[in-house]
């Protein structure tokens, strides 16, 4: 295994791992998963695909716990690690959590504090004392890819011992040469040494006594599960040799690729896909730009503070043009995700997030390939027209927004009203509707948005859950199902389809789709009610209703049991309401008792939310007017200044 371990830098999850770490972790994960009867994916993929295991696989808790205990760490450390890696949060050990946990174990075994920041640097592989297989033992003898962080004194003594090891050519320097002490290491790069990991566990308790006979001492230490020293595991010299070889093999390629020690800032393929999808939801043309206002609204949903978002923008908008290209957008999104995961923001844009790197590292597989490559060239060229476009867009949105009376119930309005003339609006005002919108999106959103703005809905919800990319793609299926639903209810939905299309391109004229949405939405609900009632059987009706749920995920799922009745109550256009109510009541009869209260509460909630939405809209409109008035005032002042007679000194 080690021999096959190629280059790649040591990385901190949730992103890239070195190949050695990848293999190690994936095998561990596979074993834990297999032991727990969950299918784990084997092997290691390309460096970009950090997760060799499909995201659906989880490691069973039992084997994982055994593994962790085998790491010889104290229980509270393991608890900390479990919490930090997010397993408690998500409730299971997915690949992400498992890898993070393994990294944290390595950090803890190296003596680093158990924090997310610890795993940013390159670490040795964690060591597990398991006398099971050679593979496991080998896992404990990883190639060393340590970063500069570790300045633990006892490490230095080991480094003395193994200093000779770190050169690529010193394959022959095996156990005999390990014994003699060398001069203290000069620099952190010497950390990259295979056997260093041996020392960690032992040297935690002892310091220098290991050196005279490291291996001999180690062997007996292996058996007793010493205070922390058992961790290195059995390190027979043969493993040393293989390790050294693999280590030296690794070192060279690693040097080539190890220009980017900042692994938390690497974007995996999966995340990349997600970001690109999000980009497309905001701006269908991947080669084009997302304007600042659109991006601002979108990132505001992540609920980070405005100064942080401002800083993230600063980092990611490399050309400072007020718009984000796809690589810039990915970088910004990635920074937001990292921030939400608790990583502190970097001082400068990490190299793995820079535009050129992103373009080079992720050539778009499909048609966007050519478009991608043209980003850097087209960007300066497009600067002027893009600025104009943005201005036009803003002015268009201005015009579109102004005649908006009270019709806008869409989330487009709620989130995007500010976008057009937003810049001068006080941030708290814009934040409140944003947060209320967020809460709306999280909970039962007003029905009127259900079909038309599905994509926006998804974008908003995704903006709210950035830390969990894997589950999100599933929601795209629901979007697809909503499209199917549209085809199913073809006659009632043509307007809705049109309503579906405009929202994706970066929140264009909202009033039009909103107005058109209102009508078809109102239609749809009676349609839905009629459809189930027409089916008139409980099971097909219920199937229809759940089928109609996915498009508006948050609400529908809640409403599903009482959907027919509640819909009848709440649909503004109660066309055929009584009839449908009568027809549908047999369905609801089963859940009537418990659902009546729920219905009432749901109704109240919905009404309050609608009121909120209306007020938010009003607020935003008034803000716009205020801004207009401000601008007029400024213009007038300017005129006044110009007309003022010259003051005589």
């Amino acid at each position: 295994m080690e021999a096959a371990a190629g280059g790649g830098c040591g990385s901190g999850p949730p992103l890239l791992l070195s190949e050695g770490e990848q293999q190690c972790y994936s095998e561990l994960f596979a074993r834990c998963a297999a032991a727990g009867a969950a299918g784990g994916g084997p092997g290691s993929g390309p460096p970009e695909a950090a997760r060799a295991v499909p995201s659906a696989a989880t490691a069973a808790a039992g084997p994982v716990a055994d593994l962790f205990r085998a790491s010889q760490l104290p229980a509270e450390t393991l608890h900390q690690i479990t919490e930090l890696c997010g397993a408690k949060r998500v409730g299971y050990f997915g690949p992400t959590q498992f890898y993070i946990a393994l990294k944290l174990i390595a950090a803890a075994q190296s003596g680093l504090p158990v924090r997310i920041e610890s795993i940013k640097c390159e670490l040795p592989l964690p060591r597990f004392l398991m006398s099971k297989t050679d593979a496991e033992i080998r896992f404990g003898n990883p190639t060393e890819l340590h970063g500069t962080k570790v300045q633990i004194p006892y490490l230095i003594t080991e480094k003395n011992t193994f200093k000779r090891m770190d050169d690529e050519d010193k394959q022959e320097t095996q156990s005999p040469t390990m014994s003699p002490l060398a001069s203290p290491p000069s620099s952190p790069p010497h950390y990259q040494r295979v056997p260093l990991s041996h020392a960690y566990g032992k040297l935690r308790s002892n310091t220098e006594q290991m050196h005279p006979a490291p291996y001999e001492a180690r062997q007996p230490l292996v058996q007793p599960e010493g205070p922390s020293s058992g961790a290195p595991g059995t390190k027979p010299p043969r493993h040393q040799a293989s390790l050294i070889r693999s280590f030296s093999v690794e070192r060279e390629p690693q040097d080539n690729n190890s220009n980017y020690p900042d692994e938390p800032w690497r974007i995996t393929e999966e995340q990349r896909e997600y970001y690109v999808n999000q980009f497309r939801s905001l701006q269908p043309d991947p080669s084009s730009f997302i304007s600042g206002s659109v991006a601002k609204n979108f990132f505001t949903k992540s609920k980070l503070s405005i100064p942080e978002l401002s800083y993230i923008w600063e980092l990611s908008d490399a050309d400072c043009d007020g718009a984000l290209t796809l690589p810039e957008f990915c970088a910004a999104f990635h920074l937001i995700v990292a921030r939400k995961n608790g990583y502190p923001l970097p001082e400068g844009l990490p190299p793995t997030l820079q535009t050129e790197y992103l373009q080079a590292a992720f050539p778009k597989p499909k048609r966007e390939c050519a478009l991608f490559d043209s980003y850097s060239e087209s960007m300066p060229a497009n600067q002027q027209p893009r600025d104009l476009n943005r201005m036009e867009k803003l002015s268009v949105k201005d015009m579109a927004d102004f005649p908006v009376p009270t019709q806008d119930v869409t989330s487009d309005d709620k989130q995007g009203l500010k976008s057009t003339v937003d810049e001068a609006l006080p941030k708290d005002v814009s934040e409140d509707p944003a947060t209320s919108k967020d809460s709306n999106s999280l909970k039962a959103r007003p029905r009127s948005r259900s079909y038309s703005s599905t994509s926006i809905e998804e974008a908003m919800k995704r903006g709210e859950d950035p830390p969990t990319p894997p589950p999100r793609p599933q929601k795209t299926h629901s979007r697809a199902s909503s499209l199917d639903l549209n085809k199913v209810f073809q006659p009632s939905v043509p307007a809705t389809k049109s309503g579906l299309l405009p929202p994706p391109p970066a929140l264009p004229p909202r009033p039009c789709p909103s107005q058109s949405e209102q009508a078809p939405e109102a239609e749809i609900h009676p349609q839905l009610n009629r459809a189930p009632s027409q089916a008139a059987e409980s099971s097909p009706a219920k199937k229809d209703i759940p089928y109609s749920q996915p498009p508006s995920k948050p609400i529908r799922r809640k409403f599903r049991p009482e959907n027919p009745a509640t819909e009848n109550q709440d649909t503004s256009t109660a066309v055929g309401g009584p009839a449908t109510a009568a027809a549908v009541k047999p369905h609801a009869a089963v859940q009537k008792q418990s659902s009546k209260q729920k219905k009432a509460i749901q109704t109240a909630i919905r009404k309050n939310k609608e009121a909120n939405a209306v007020l938010a809209r009003l607020n935003s409109e008034l803000q716009q007017q205020l801004k207009e008035v401000h601008q007029e005032r400024i213009a007038l002042e300017n005129q006044l200044e110009q007309l003022r007679p010259v003051t005589v000194l």
Partner: protein, 129 residues
């Protein structure tokens, strides 16, 4: 109406005095831009030059087309600073300011908290002092 978006002084003692000087120089800036105000705004030079010299300090001014004023106070003993250097410094300030404005999360009128802007100003001041 005239509130500072950003203030920074290099030697941190007497900071208040610098603040005061900047504030008083705002009047001079207003004077200058209104003096040229009869002409169209486009014809007005952005760089205002030496606003007024005191015995210890020289104050330079610069105003953007959106009436954002940059005021720079330099030590009179710093004779190495020439006019075109001051101009270039103002130009850099202006460029950084436009970068800050490009950030959609920045509201015009807020205090500038951009780290890029900070670092640019710091580097400039280190260069001079």
């Amino acid at each position: 109406m005239n509130y500072p978006l950003y203030i920074r002084s290099a030697p941190t003692e007497n900071e208040l005095k610098f603040h005061y000087m900047v504030h008083t120089s705002l009047d001079v800036v207003d004077e200058k831009i209104s003096a040229m105000g009869k002409a169209l705004v486009d014809q007005r030079e952005l760089y205002l030059g030496l606003l007024y010299p005191t015995e210890d300090y020289k104050v330079y001014g610069y105003v953007t087309n959106s009436k954002v004023k940059f005021v720079m106070v330099v030590d009179s003993s710093n004779t190495a600073l020439r006019d075109n250097e001051i101009r270039s410094m103002f130009r850099k300030l202006h460029n950084s300011y436009t970068d800050v404005m490009c950030n959609p999360f920045y509201n015009p009128g807020d205090r500038i908290q951009s780290r890029a802007f900070d670092s640019m100003v710091t580097s400039m001041m280190i260069q001079v002092c």
